[in-house]
Symmetry: C2
Subunit: 251 residues, 2 copies
């Protein structure tokens, strides 16, 4: 298997940013600049469709987790995203998504199918990245691990968390139940799930069905008024508090 | 109209507790012991059915608001609750509730009807209490006012907020839409609403219908797994952050 290679390092606002590659998969690891002497929990994040590992939504969430909790955060580019090349299949599916949008057709069927394809590629990449990150002394092999991904990040995260016992708390949201509900039934860790009450792409019934599918004894759904892209910024703060409650540092 | 009379005063944990009466309605006002020189926002709370103004749920929420935000908090006993006498009608309705429970019948119809009756009495009491509290220099006539009530507190709060323009942010939850949905349609201030996903008394459809009825452009629904009485403690912290966001101190 490929090993993790750090390729660049910088720091600002109390956060150390280290870019890395795992074979041909580029990623970024954010860590507290203070207090990295001991081990700290890790939150794996996955970005949304059309975005990338260092999108402001990712860097902003990482900043909250790193400075708010003192945890590490890692994200990798999804296949066909960020610094990774698009395949012919990626181009076809993206063209089909744009065509559906332009025609005023629902984009759900295309997004569900394409995200499922990407998740099948990304899940083993996330597991290999987790293997490598756990070899770092500041993370360690037995420390707490969380997952945080909305939109396409949920399409990748639900199948990942369903088969990855090292992840013990997860924040998801804003996706369809078609492919994910069956996998969500195998997830029993604490979950916080976000949906938009006036989402123009995902119906209320679809969001509620996906939330309902999680087998977790402890799960929370946060519904906010507004359309698909209007998820309030304060939900990021809520997710950080969720991880602070559920991921405890190794003594 | 009756005036507000303070009857007892004590303080602990940074919180000043002043009991008062408004005519024959007993209440309690909690305030920060530090920094009462200027004015601060007020959160009116209403307790749940069978409880009273100083129930630990009220005192605990007040402590969070007072020390977390520096705001004032006031609660009055609902009719037939706490230090107030029960009428023959109260006794009849309580007996009917116990009978329905013992018979395994749904308690919703009794609670909805009885809470509506109590709300009709309590709403003018809350408005008169607010009039009096706003005469205190540490609150003032034009300061921000919030409302926080779950269960029977929602049955009182929704009709109160629907007609009380001085209240500009409200936390509700865990009640039926039968009587309240029509009143909720007249509420357009920011609302945070809590429901339990496995509530044995209030169906998911009923809770979602009441949340949906609020006309508020900005509203959030917090759903948690668990039964009626298992509302997580962290929802109280969320409510405090909600008030911190929406109630601004008068300069």
């Amino acid at each position: 298997m490929y090993s993790l290679q750090f390729t660049a390092e910088s720091s600002s606002n109390g956060m150390l940013q280290r870019e890395f590659t795992m074979g041909d998969v580029p990623g970024v690891l954010w860590s507290p600049t203070a207090g990295v002497a001991g081990r700290a929990p890790l939150v794996l994040m996955a970005h949304g469709g059309g975005n990338h590992k260092k999108h402001p939504a990712m860097a902003g969430r990482a900043q909250r987790v790193v400075t708010g909790c003192g945890f590490h955060v890692a994200v990798i580019d999804a296949p066909g995203h960020g610094d990774r090349p698009r395949s012919a299949h990626d181009e076809e599916e993206i063209a089909e998504l744009y065509r559906a949008r332009a025609a005023g057709e629902p984009e759900g069927p295309v997004v569900v199918r394409y995200n499922d394809h990407l998740a099948q590629l990304a899940v083993p990449e996330y597991r290999a990245t987790l293997d490598a990150l756990q070899e770092l002394p500041e993370i360690g092999a037995d420390g707490p691990v969380g997952f945080w991904g909305i939109n396409m990040g949920t399409a990748i995260g639900v199948p990942l968390v369903a088969i990855e016992p090292r992840i013990t708390a997860a924040v998801f949201g804003q996706h369809w139940p078609d492919v994910l509900a069956e996998k969500a039934k195998r997830i029993s860790i604490p979950v916080e799930f976000a949906m938009q009450w006036d989402d123009e792409h995902i119906s209320r019934e679809e969001s509620l069905a996906l939330f309902d599918a999680f087998a977790s004894k402890e799960k929370s759904l946060h519904v906010n008024s507004g359309r698909h892209k209007e998820l309030p910024r304060f939900e990021a703060d809520s997710a950080v508090r969720f991880f602070a409650r559920h991921l405890r540092a190794v003594p």
